[in-house]
Amino acid sequence: MSALVLTNALSMAIPRVFGAAVDAFTQGADRRRVTMFALAIVAIAVAQAVSRVISRIVVLGTSRRVEYDLKGMLHDKLAQLAPSFYDAFSTGDLMSRMTNDVMLVRALGGPGILYFTNAMLVYLLGTAFMVSLSWQLTIVVLAPLPLMAWLVRGTVHKVRAFALSSREALSDLNTVVQENLAGAGVVRSFALEEAQMRRFDERSTAYLDWGLKESRARAQMIPMIGLAGGLSYAAVLALGGPMAAAGAVSIGDLVAFVGYIGMMIFPTVALGWILSLMQRGTAALERLDKILQAPVTISSGAGALALSELRTDVTVSDYTFRYHDALDAYTHLQDGDAAHERPPALRGVSLRVEAGTFVALVGRVGSGKTTLLKSLLRLVEVPPGAIALDGADINDYDVADVRRAVAYVPQDDFLFSDSVAANIRFGAPDADDATVVAVAELAGIDLSSEGLANGLETEVGERGANLSGGQRQRVALARALLRDAPILVLDNALSNVDTDTERRILAGLSAQRSGRTVIAASNRITAVQDAECIYVFDSGEIVDSGRHDELAARPGLYASMREQQQLSARLEELP
């Protein structure tokens, strides 16, 4: 900051020196004095250069740091926010906030502050220098400033409102792009390119329109400020001329004044630009603040119990869950309409899983199996009293402990764009190679070149797009197995794996289970028939439970599902 003051003080001294020189000339100075004046200015130039480099590096560098700190803060927050937050905000929107909006905040923090301080210093120092020459002229020079402020006032608000709308339009645009890229396969396979172009065009045009509105408002502002500067010039001549004639000021003083106005015009024009930067910057900040203000709905309670050495008995009692309850927490952050009421995903579900047992969930589409499994990891907001681990409420434990106790194979086999090995190591980065290979084999991953081109080093691509469906699922399974947690949760984990491989995996798993609890949801009877207890779900409720033979013996959903999978009769009828 002091470098900034110095730079400006030095620049502001120049008209003064120049004015003094002019006065000296009119009084008939010799060449030596002229040279002295010139050298004084050169000295100023050198000092100026140094202080300017420093001040810029400090201010602009700080703005970069601020930008990256802000990004870090936002990312930290994103890492804490519950999955329900991501239901409420789309990836494209969040990306837009994290990139474009942060960029605007940086512009506010860097150039914005730099030019603003500059302008203020120029005014301050300029005024001081000018007053020392002539206070009357100073008043005249500064008189147009309030006029300018008054002229600009209304425009500033407009710029801000338009800036906000334009930011939102950009977010929408980003969302379209993000979806188009993420769904590139569907877009091509259904030949939707043109429809997508239209959609993009629509959003891009909307963004353009808001941008133009904003520009018009900004364009109005800048000349108005310029006008104020021009008035100062005229005023100095109008008043200064007679004053010089009367001998109240010297010509050199007048020259210095002209110099000062010249110096002040640019910062004044820049002020207009700064104002618009500020408007955009604060609009962007407002949007970032939405992320920072979002409530963290899943966190470890104070005095959280540590979950060590647990037996991991799981008791679910009268558990009712609605997704939109969690979404309500974010509605005040969004302009869109609130989440709508839907029937609960789980309705009065009660079950008990003893440590070391194998429990299976089967049921119709959308009957709540995944919701229940996600609840065991607190990936959804579990109401108090619904789920107990070893007799204590799941919400009373440290979240990290709970998640470490449960190894999870989600139904959505999300992989990171990295190698197969890195993906398997995801939950246990320190595992040695032998363990990784052992786990990969247990998960039925074919490490031969016929299976995976480069074995464990094969790059899986974004979301694992370069693997086959079944390969992806098995990597996700291996990833969970490497966690070696007391509870293993499988959500339709082998739905894309052929039956031969499935059988081998299941056999391997049960041989290695050694006291581990397994909770698995599946649509395949072959995968659940060995379970100690099978719970049958329908519309968020448990409609039946028991062992395979019990359930198969009585009419109901399970029996009919099983019958459908009994191939014999029908396949034999084929030609």
């Binding site: 100026q48 810029r56 990139t99 091509r188 001329g241 797009a465 030609p575």
Partner: protein
């Protein structure tokens, strides 16, 4: 940095490629251009008026000459008029330039996005979404600065500069020389900084794209990250990416600060030179005070835009780096080419044939399909079975020409699919892909996809057929209910049913089901099969499934193993053969009854 890297770094020449985009708005730019000479003129006239005021009026008046101030008032009025005109022009120019600039941006965005639509799937296998997204939005935004402010301002500045130099020379060429002695030094400094700046910005754009790709992946994978309690590692990694970028950006700040300071010092030194030389002139009587003031004003006006230009130069380099990335994307060759003379789509009277097709995803990779022959006759229902990674989904992708195969031909009624328009070809199939993708849009839009071609009735009928209408009914707004990203607010089975309905809604000739019901319970599945029975009776279908109950009504079963067809025939024939299929079958069947017994 190593020399070969240099060629990759953007030179300002890349900006030339923006020309067609700029040319499209040349009218607007021309109108804006008309204001330029006037603006520059206004800039030149004001100091002149000052000089006249000082030399003709104020100095004589100060020396006691009576009536010297008489003309001053007119002069001031003229000055005010000039200034007001300048303000008006500036507004017009700024606004016009903004319009032109933002339209150009819009066009550029459309061009980039349009080109991305032409790129084939293999491009997306290699380029993460976050990176491509950075090109379409962020990089284009970076050009915005240059387009809507820089470009015009730069032209204006250059016009002003030239005007000033001419006027100054006209008044006193020696004084002009004195003013510009420092200029060559400045040019040297600028030249030295140029390459560094460019390299820094180029690197910065690359790192930005990388950071964004990482961020995009963290956001989409946050569920998994949290399930494995790996937030900390994710945060650390994000910070690492960010710190790399910060380092480069700080270097950029250093360089541009140096640039700006050089220009400022040049102004000041020039002022000193003018003062010294002008001072000698005043003493010698060849220069008046008014001229001195006028020169000082010109110098201010000369170096101010120059200083501005140093910022502009900065944004120019930044823009060059961004356009380099953008044009690299625009230059990306669509791997799937449309033939020059596309043949009309055959009526599909006979069959789709794979004739000795060999296919690998990447060049030099081991082929996923090797010398594959496969026939899908009209009206036939064929099942593809085989272990995971056998190449079943790959067959589907090659058939739709989502990827280009290396050897052999894929034909429809004898016409090579490469001679057809890929989009017509793809519309010919209705596919339920193994990876379901839904758009953040209404249920109806997700099923219809093209809402002009598919009516609401057809949407409802398709949903009915796949047993989706029941759960759709429970949603607020039913068919108008909005889905979350990728259908996040639905269960997996529900998402799959919508993808199934989507494939049926377009009423395709050939239905491709790639594990279309893997997340659906078998009760629902069998009801769908029954509902579909009549519908697909005269359709052609290719069905991929691991759960053999899914394929119980097909005409023929093809067993694929490591990219080759091993067995082919009806269930009975394959059972009699006692090969791979028979083993798979027994596993499912025997295991089930075995325990039940």
């Amino acid at each position: 940095m190593t020399p070969p890297k240099r060629s990759k770094v953007a030179s300002l020449g890349v900006l030339r490629r923006l020309r067609p985009f700029v040319a499209a708005h040349s009218k607007l730019l021309m109108v804006a251009g008309i204001t330029l000479p006037f603006l520059a003129g206004a800039q030149l006239v004001a100091p002149y008026l000052l000089r006249v005021a000082i030399d003709r009026h104020i100095t004589p008046a100060a020396n006691g000459q009576a009536g010297a101030l008489d003309g001053l008032w007119t002069l001031i009025l003229v000055l005010l008029a000039v200034l007001v005109a300048e303000v008006a022009l500036r507004f017009a120019q700024l606004y016009l330039m903004q319009i032109a600039g933002q339209r150009i941006m819009h066009d550029l965005r459309m061009a980039v996005f349009g080109h991305v639509q032409k790129l084939s799937m293999s491009y997306f296998d290699r380029h993460p979404v976050g990176q491509v997204m950075t090109r379409v939005t962020s990089d284009v935004e970076t050009l915005n600065d240059l387009m809507s402010q820089g470009l015009v301002a730069m032209v204006r500045d250059v016009v002003t500069l030239v005007g000033i130099v001419i006027v100054m020379t006209w008044i006193d060429w020696r004084l002009t020389v004195a003013s510009f002695v420092v200029f060559p030094f400045l040019a040297v400094i600028l030249g030295a900084l140029r390459v560094r700046l460019r390299r820094t910005y180029d690197r910065s754009r690359t790192l930005v794209a990388r950071l964004n790709a990482f961020l995009q992946e963290s956001i989409t994978g946050m569920g998994v990250i949290q399930a494995f309690d790996e937030q900390e590692r994710n945060v650390d990694e994000f910070r690492r990416h960010r710190d790399n970028l910060l380092e480069i950006d700080l270097r950029g700040v250093g360089l541009s600060s140096f640039l700006s300071a050089s220009v400022q010092s040049a102004t000041t030194v020039s002022t000193a030179l003018v003062l010294a030389y002008g001072g000698f002139g005043v003493i010698g009587g060849t220069v008046t005070i008014g001229i001195l003031v006028q020169f000082m004003e010109y110098l201010g006006r000369f170096y101010r835009p120059l200083e501005d230009l140093s910022d502009k130069y900065d944004s120019l380099q930044r823009a060059a780096a961004a356009s380099n990335k953008i044009f690299a994307l625009l230059d990306e060759d669509p791997a799937i080419k449309v033939a020059d003379d596309v043949r009309p789509m055959p009526d599909f009277e006979d069959a789709i044939r794979f004739e000795g097709v060999t296919f690998a995803y990447g060049e030099g990779d081991t082929p996923v399909l090797s010398k594959l022959d496969l026939t899908l006759r009209r009206g036939e229902k064929v099942a593809l079975v085989g272990s995971t990674g056998a190449g079943k989904s790959s067959i589907v992708k090659v058939m739709q020409r989502l990827y280009e195969h290396q050897e052999g031909r894929v034909t429809i009624d004898g016409v090579d699919t490469r001679e057809l328009d890929p989009r017509t070809l793809r519309r010919f199939f209705g596919t339920v892909p193994q990876d379901v993708f839904l758009f953040t849009d209404s249920i109806a839009a997700n099923i219809a996809l093209d809402e002009d071609a598919v009516s609401m009735d057809e949407v409802a009928r398709a949903a009915e057929l796949v047993e989706a209408s029941e759960f759709i009914g429970t949603l607020p707004g039913a068919y108008e209910a909005r889905l979350g990203e990728r259908g996040a607010n639905l269960s997996f089975g529900e998402r799959q049913l919508l993808a199934f309905a989507r494939a049926l809604a377009s009423d395709p000739q050939v239905l491709i089901l790639d594990e279309a019901t893997s997340s659906v319970d078998s009760e629902t599945e069998s009801r769908i099969q029954r509902a579909l029975h009549n519908l697909v009776a005269d359709r052609t279908a290719l069905i991929i499934a691991h759960r053999l109950s899914t394929i119980r009504e097909v005409d023929r079963i093809v067993v694929l193993h490591h990219g080759e067809i091993r067995e082919q025939g009806s269930h009975r024939e394959l059972m009699a053969l006692g090969g791979i299929y028979a083993t798979l079958y027994r596993l499912q069947y025997d295991q089930d009854t075995g325990t039940a017994a």
